[in-house]
Assembly symmetry: C2
Homo-oligomer: 338 residues x 2
C-alpha cells in the first residue's frame, strides 16, 4: 500500500508502506473514500515543528469499513464511517462530559493520507451513516472529521448564541468553517478578518456580514469601531500565533468569550494582560466526536456545504503538490482521492 | 483627616491628608464604619510591585453617607452603604452585562484606609441598606466590598454548581471565602489547599470537605488521587503566582473550569500547555457590584458570616501593625476601625 510520509521541511513523499492490520480487538480498518491535508500539517511541512524521523501524515478521513476487531460492536464491515482525528473510547468520564479529544485513552490519528487506515477504539471514534452517502457529499462528510468539527468547536467554545456579534481571526479552512458554524448557531453579525479575496468571498458565502482587512492593533481598533467602541461577544482564534492570539483577546469585550482551536506555536500569554482583559478563554483539540452525529446530519440533509473549503482536489499520489499549493496559499484546502 | 500612605517597601504611614470633597456631581463622601487591608496591598508593601511615589492605600469600605453631589439620585446622606473596590457607572454596555469591574468609566478605589473617602459614580458603585445594620454585622458587610465578592466571583467564574467537585488554591482570605462561596453554590466536595492549621480550620468551618497540604505537582497528584484520577470540575486560583496558576490549571479536568481572581504577578502561560489542558479559563478584577445586593442580603439574613476572615481588629491609627501582621502571616486579614 502507498501512503504519505514527511521526511523533513518541504520533503513529503508518497511511498510503499505496510498494509494496516487489526492490532487490537477494538480496531477497525477503513478503506478511505477521501482524505485531505490539514492546516496543521503545514507546521511540520514548513519546518516550524521539527520531525525527528520520517513521519506518516494525515488525520482526516472517511470511508468504508473493511474489517473490524472481535470486540467492535457498533461498527460493521461495508458501513460508511467518519471518525475524529482524536481517537477516543467515548465512555470515560472525560468523554461522557463531551471532551472526547482529551479522552483518558486518547491517541491522535496519523497516517490517514493513504488508501487504508487503522482506527483504534473504533466503537468510540467512528460514526456510521445509515446508508452509503451520495458521492457528491463525500467532501462535506470528510470536512466533519476535523476542519468543520474544529470550526464548530471554535464557535461553541466562544459561546456563540442567537444574536451574538462574532469575530473570526484567521481565514484558513477552520476560520471559514468557524464563520459557517457561527451562522448556524444564529450569530447576528459575523466579522471575518481576511486579506485574501477568494477567502473573503467564501467567508461571505458562509455567512460573514463584514470583512476586516487590518491586522494587529489596527484590526482591533476597526473591530471596536464596528461595534460601538467595545470588543465582540465572541471571538474565534483560528491561527495559533502570538499575534493572532493577542489580536483575538483584544478584540473580545470584557466578559466576552474567546476560543482558540489551533495548536499554539510560540505563544505565551501574560497573566496580568489576560487578567485585565477579563475574557472567558477556552480552547484545545476540538472534541469533534461530540459534534459528529449532528454535523453528519446537517451535511446529509444538505443544510450546510462545508466541503466548499476544498478548492483543490488531487489524486492521492499527487499529495506533494497538494502540500505545495497550500503552503503557497494557492489552495485553501486540498482534498485527496485514493 | 488622617489616612494611610505607602512610601516604599514596608514603610506604611498614617498621616495628615486633605479632607475628601465632592469633586464631580456624581461623587459621594462616605464616613467609614470599617475598612481593612487586602492581600493585594501586600504586593507593593513587600516591594514586589514598585510604588513610584507616596501612595494612599485602601479599597475596601463601608460606612455612612456624609454628602452627595448634585447629580446623585439613589444614594442619600445618612444611609449605610457598601461599595465595590471598582468604581462603575452600572449603566454602560459592559456593566449591563455584569462586568462592572471593567466598566467603560472604571476607576479603582484608593485611599479607603482613612476615616473619610470620596466615591466617584456613587449611584453606580454603592449599594445602600434599608436600615442601619447592627454593629456586629459590620465586618461581614465590609467583606462583601471586595474579599467576599472576589471569592464569590472565583466560584462563579469557575462554574461551581450543585454537586461540583471544587479545588481552592490559596488559603488567604479570598481563598477561604472562595470555599464559603462554593459551599453556598451547592458544591458537593470542596478541597482546600493549605498548610496552615488556623486557615485549614476556617476552611473547614466555611465548608471544605478535604484539605490538601502538598503543593505543585505533588498537590496536583493528590487532587487526582482524591478524584478518580482526573482533575476537579472547578478550580479557584486565589494567589496569582506562576506556581499557583500552573497548579490550578493542572488540577482542572479537561473541559473543567479554572478561575483566577488575584492580579497575576510574573505569570506567563504557555499557549501549547494551555491548549492541551483544554480547560475553561476566566478571571479578572471581580465584578463585585454585580453580586453586592445578593451578598448583602445573605449577610443581613445571617446566612453567611464572611467577617470571620478578620482575625485581627485594630484601631485605624495602628494600620502599620496591621500590615506587619499580614505580611508575617500572623493574621489572615486585618480589620481597621476608624
Amino acid at each position: 500500500m502507498l501512503g504519505t510520509v514527511l521526511y523533513g521541511p518541504r520533503d513529503v513523499r508518497f511511498e510503499e508502506r505496510d498494509i494496516p492490520k487489526i492490532v487490537k480487538p477494538t480496531d477497525a480498518i477503513i478503506r478511505l473514500s477521501a482524505t485531505c491535508i490539514c492546516g496543521s500539517d503545514l507546521w511540520p511541512y514548513r519546518g516550524i515543528q521539527a520531525v525527528a524521523q520520517p513521519t506518516p501524515m494525515g488525520h482526516e478521513y472517511c470511508g468504508i469499513v473493511e474489517e473490524v476487531g472481535r470486540e467492535v460492536r457498533n461498527i460493521k464491515p461495508s458501513q460508511f464511517v467518519v471518525g475524529s482525528f482524536a481517537i477516543s473510547d467515548n465512555t470515560c468520564v472525560i468523554c461522557r462530559d463531551g471532551y472526547q479529544s482529551s479522552c483518558l485513552q486518547r491517541e491522535f490519528m496519523t497516517s490517514a493520507q493513504a488508501s487504508l487506515v487503522r482506527v483504534p477504539l473504533a466503537d468510540g471514534t467512528l460514526v456510521a451513516t445509515r446508508d452509503l452517502p451520495p458521492k457528491e457529499l463525500i467532501p462535506s462528510l470528510l470536512a466533519t472529521s476535523d476542519v468543520l468539527g474544529t470550526g464548530w468547536f471554535a464557535a461553541d467554545a466562544a459561546n456563540v448564541k442567537p444574536g451574538s456579534t462574532v469575530v473570526v481571526v484567521g481565514d484558513g479552512a477552520v476560520g471559514l468553517l468557524g464563520v459557517l458554524s457561527a451562522k448556524q448557531m444564529g450569530a447576528e453579525r459575523i466579522i471575518a478578518m481576511s486579506r485574501h479575496e477568494s477567502r473573503q468571498k467564501l467567508a461571505r458565502e458562509f455567512g460573514a456580514t463584514d470583512i476586516v482587512t487590518e491586522r494587529g492593533d489596527e484590526g482591533v481598533a476597526r473591530i471596536k469601531e464596528l461595534n460601538n467602541g467595545v470588543g465582540a461577544d465572541s471571538v474565534l482564534e483560528c491561527v495559533g500565533t502570538q499575534e493572532s492570539m493577542m489580536q483575538a483577546i483584544k478584540s473580545t469585550r470584557p466578559g466576552g468569550y474567546m476560543s482558540y482551536v489551533g495548536v499554539p506555536h510560540g505563544v505565551s500569554l501574560d497573566g496580568e494582560q489576560l487578567f485585565f482583559a477579563e475574557v472567558h478563554l477556552h480552547g484545545g483539540p476540538a472534541p469533534v466526536r461530540r459534534y459528529l452525529p449532528e454535523l453528519i446530519k446537517l451535511v446529509l440533509n444538505e443544510k450546510i456545504n462545508p466541503g466548499k473549503v476544498f478548492d483543490l482536489t488531487l489524486p492521492l499520489d499527487h499529495v506533494a503538490e497538494g502540500y505545495r499549493a497550500m503552503d503557497e496559499r494557492r489552495a485553501i484546502k486540498t482534498l485527496l482521492r485514493p
